[in-house]
Subunit: 419 residues, 2 copies
């Protein structure tokens, strides 16, 4: 904890000083933006309803690090430099943006004029399965309710490698995928548009500093490598998934798109919101044991808004704090075989489902595979996503008089390509 976390801090950017602003001076998340009159994307930091141009600030000699951190339109260079510089940069930005510092409006772009891009180059994308409630629910539906949780689940953060080429930033339209589907009670599969398109509400941990091939990590070492977090929607085609996933896991059912929020909220900004996760019983093996709180209390919501309507319906409210396995444990497990981790690796937490019905992080669970349709505000019903629906993930940590917000991870579903 240091001066950048002081709840009393205010910014000379007045819009940052309201209680419900996602981007107060205690947050300072990094992203990549462009504007119509300056179309080359560059790194910025969100403050209130503005973006501070870090490429320009660096060029003006206002930032630590020796230069060259923001000459690429991605934060990978900063992330690779390590935690000492991350802290130094945060402190410099906090001091630059505080009330009392010299205002620098020439470095600001209103968010309404900014186009946001992927904030980092996604090196590889891994997805986990770390909510006990979600794993139990899916196991009940896909396999056997009596043995929903597999035997390995309580011993390791189960995960699989996902597809990095289709990680997109919030706002990108999502084309309904086609895939191989075998409807129940039929003999033959078909190749068709998915009829069970779903979301998965997740957080994504972003690896900052790399690890060497052949070098396992402790949970503490793994935790220190995580630069920050984003909201993550692991779009899933359930009908493709159930036919393809045995024995090698999900593949094309999740390869078509993954949406992340545009601002990477640093782990340092989240430090005041660390909280213990659920008690882990059985005790994890030594390589997975963690000291201190490694979960984060991030309030999460999902809304669904049909095309042509004006009112989004909230379909899920939950918290990241419920996750059984922490992101640090996931990263330690990932490197446990000697797998090299790299700057820009993205680790999806797995679907975040709580115990209550309204806290489930996928339509698969919310509608129990279509059996119990959701009622939306406009009077329509949903089992899975229909064309034109807009799905939006939001999240924030609630501080004393301020919040650390993530913005949104949103996408509108477009019709499938012709088969």
């Amino acid at each position: 904890m240091n001066e950048t976390h002081d709840p009393g801090l205010k910014s000379w950017v007045e819009s940052a000083n309201t209680e419900t602003c996602d981007f107060p001076i205690q947050n300072l998340p990094y992203g990549v933006f462009s504007r119509a009159d300056a179309p080359a994307p560059r790194v910025g930091v969100a403050i209130g309803d503005q973006v501070l141009d870090l490429a320009a600030a660096e060029a003006a000699g206002l930032l630590p690090g020796g230069g060259g951190l923001f000459s690429n339109p991605a934060i990978n260079t900063l992330m690779a430099r390590g935690a000492a510089l991350w802290a130094e940069m945060r402190l410099a930005l906090s001091r630059m943006l505080r009330q009392g510092a010299r205002p620098r409006p020439e470095l600001l772009t209103p968010m309404t004029d900014a186009t946001l891009h992927l904030p980092f180059e996604v090196t590889e994308y891994t997805d986990f399965y770390a909510s006990r409630e979600h794993a139990t629910n899916v196991g009940s539906m896909f396999r056997d309710p009596a043995n929903a949780l597999m035997e390995n689940w309580l011993h390791m953060p189960v995960g699989y490698n996902g597809r990095a080429s289709t990680v997109v930033v919030s706002g990108t339209d999502i084309q309904r995928p086609c895939g191989q589907i075998k409807p129940p009670h039929t003999d033959q599969p078909t190749y068709a548009a998915s009829a069970k398109l779903d979301i998965e509400l997740e957080m994504g941990a972003v690896v900052g500093t790399p690890s060497e091939m052949g070098a396992p990590l402790s949970v503490a070492e793994a935790d220190a490598m995580i630069f920050g977090y984003v909201l993550l929607n692991d779009w899933s085609a359930r009908d493709v998934q159930v036919w393809e996933y045995q024995p090698l896991g999900p593949f094309q059912a999740k390869a078509f798109a993954t949406t992340i929020s545009p601002w990477v909220v640093t782990q340092e900004a989240l430090a005041p919101f660390r909280t213990p996760g659920p008690v882990q019983d059985p005790q994890p093996l030594p390589y997975l044991r963690q000291q201190g709180p490694h979960n984060f209390d991030i309030n999460l919501t999902v809304t669904m808004q049909p095309a042509g309507t004006t009112q989004p319906s909230t379909i899920c409210r939950t918290s990241f704090k419920h996750m059984y396995w922490s992101s640090a444990q996931q990263l330690a497990h990932h490197a446990g075989s000697g797998c090299a981790m790299r700057t820009g690796d993205l680790l999806g937490s797995g679907t975040i489902s709580g115990a209550a019905k309204g806290s489930l992080g996928s339509l698969l669970e919310l509608t129990w595979n279509g059996r119990d349709p959701l009622q939306l505000a406009d009077g329509s019903e949903r089992t899975f996503i229909e064309d034109g629906d807009r799905l939006t993930l939001s999240g924030h940590c609630q501080g004393d008089g301020y919040r650390i917000g993530f913005g949104q991870a949103a996408g509108t579903v477009l019709p499938a390509a012709a088969v």
Copy 2:
């Protein structure tokens, strides 16, 4: 077929003109090399026992493409430019290296003086499961001999996303991985060095030109995007795999290392060795149907050589032609959901096992999970790999008086890190 395939062609590099040379003028595979007196890696082409420096040849104005293709130590730039330039480059190199052309010894480095590096930046790595014999054998051992082949297997090329960060070039030592293992007849897993370290004999297809997100590919389009092939050893920790792989597939059991051969043999060089694969029954869905021969008749061998011995023992002889699903079908399936494919994506074929006992591409199958040890030339026995063992994959297509060789994908296993 064009003049570069003429079996009668000879090179002014005399060592390229012997019948058993892997790198005759009909081959012309691309790699990346350095030498002690010129340590910056650069692209080269193998010819006989020499490497032709393409960065130097380009700088001398001897190559098509307009320059800049070989300024990076990777062939990704060339691959991204597309098939017309690939053919033009091959023709130019063939004409430059032929008997009768002006010899350019100043562009040559003896292979014995060359250090070989990864030939391309591996963007993402995907691994398939496309040998019917292998899938049947593994299904029998890991699951149920009566239902060894899962219902989806005959309808799609089953695959999963692997880990790109640990793809290494032939010659790189492989540290025995640790991982979470639950021995049979025990209640609790442990974290320990793998006791069932294995190989998987595969070919790797290298994606040359990219495809867009949301744009499925026909098999013909997919085939045209493949730049070339390498040998690929998908090292596998079987004891880790059997405990972790349900329900999301292999993860740390295969994340610690994948070895590829240093020379990318172009699909164009392999054209004379195209052959039909096994008859596919049931007929694949339309998006997976292929016209003409899409398999390749590549003779493959695996040798194992214990530390301190001089004689490698051949433990497997097979051919790539046996694969049920072709690499082009795999790539079409991979893009079937709209998954974007990128230059440098590596697609492992899956373990290449034939029907005969000596043609099985993994120790898991060769020893039937350790039940039937192998006898090696030095009198020792093996179930799985022991520390110090060197495993070497080799492959070539047999032409009329020449061969198109792949060189080797070799690695020596070192002891695990201390747990």
